[in-house]
Symmetry: C2
Subunit: 222 residues, 2 copies
């Protein structure tokens, strides 16, 4: 079994159970960080001491705090960690259940497993750790494995996100047009923006801008 595991989780009520669960499957060294920055420091320290972590289990969202942090989310943490220790195994343990967000974790960050916090997630987490240790195939829910194959999910790019973000800030198309011109983002003609928004509306089956923002907010896209 893995020797040294780091848990990055802000909620004490959850980390207690996770640490306990790791103990149950006879992991010897279990460390825990409440902030992404702390987790990153521990990873670097361990690497420097030639006693690197085998596995990182991280949450995605961390509550903002009085503390100033450089890394504020699980995504940022994993990205940073992979740069200093590319071979580390990673599991994301989060409440998030939007398939395209999980998809991007596998595709962009190369995580090894995703376990959704739910009514029976502790055993699932233990199983996932076991599987990774044995280099077994990751088991995914049918819905999720479909999402991973579905290309269309991935064609919503940063441009669209920026557009949706600006919309949700209450800007008019004209506003966004000049905003994009200033930032050098193209296309930026109000007519092009309109067309792009229309594509999004068709894709998300939204009947107008308000509806579109409501939907994409629900999906966590903005």
């Amino acid at each position: 079994m893995f020797h040294k595991v780091l848990v990055a989780e802000d909620l004490d009520s959850i980390s207690i159970a996770v640490v306990q669960a790791l103990g149950e499957i006879s992991i010897l060294e279990i460390h825990h960080a409440k902030y992404c920055d702390d987790a990153f420091l521990k990873i670097k320290k361990a690497l420097h001491d030639n006693q690197p972590y085998d596995l990182l289990i991280s949450d995605l969202s961390f509550k903002p705090d009085h503390r100033e942090n450089k890394l504020c989310s699980g995504e940022e943490l994993i990205e940073a960690v992979k740069k200093v220790q590319p071979d580390i195994k990673t599991i994301v343990f989060s409440i998030e259940d939007k398939s395209f967000r999980i998809k991007s974790l596998f595709n962009n960050l190369g995580i090894n497993a995703y376990v959704s916090k739910g009514r029976d997630s502790i055993p699932e987490l233990q199983k996932a750790i076991q599987r990774i240790y044995n280099n077994e195939e990751i088991k995914l829910s049918p819905e999720l494995s479909h999402a991973l194959r579905d290309k269309s999910l991935f064609e919503i790019e940063s441009y669209d996100i920026a557009l949706l973000k600006s919309l949700s800030k209450g800007l008019t198309l004209e506003d966004i047009s000049s905003e994009f011109k200033d930032s050098g983002i193209i296309p930026n003609g109000s007519s092009s923006l309109e067309k792009r928004i229309n594509r999004l509306k068709i894709y998300f089956k939204a009947s107008n801008n308000v509806h579109l923002i409501a939907i994409t907010k629900d999906l966590g896209l903005v």
Copy 2:
């Protein structure tokens, strides 16, 4: 100390720590339910057996499931429980940190304490239980106690929520007007709706409908 306590919490990763924390402060009978419906049944059963619960600790949001449930949220659960056992003590233990939502829990449901899931919430939960048992004053964060006094926070009613919900579904004012007429909700003239939306826009400092929905979505109002 309390004898019999019920924990309503869907995430196993959290309920484990909560149950453990209750054991630490020598509570003898600790029960746990993953669904609001189950929790309600247990309360009723205990009451019927003349061994009622002293305290209910509940989460607010419960993940939807394959299971059909009558009660889907902590609010609904507490409301139902208070009808059959008005004297029961209640603590809400949730990640929610929007002050006006917490405010409504105290004012509408008459909860005894609110503990926000965070980096140090298990000790806080234990302290809150102790305080309630000793009938001490509830300690609130300054921000929150201010919110409880602030009247303006409370004037967003179910009417506004219904309106925002309809808006976020992509309906036009005309649509909503006839929808409200059908449901017997008044006022329902499109002009009144407009005026009400305008009040909300001023209150939330939104520049248009899209912005308004984005803000209220963020606040968890819709």
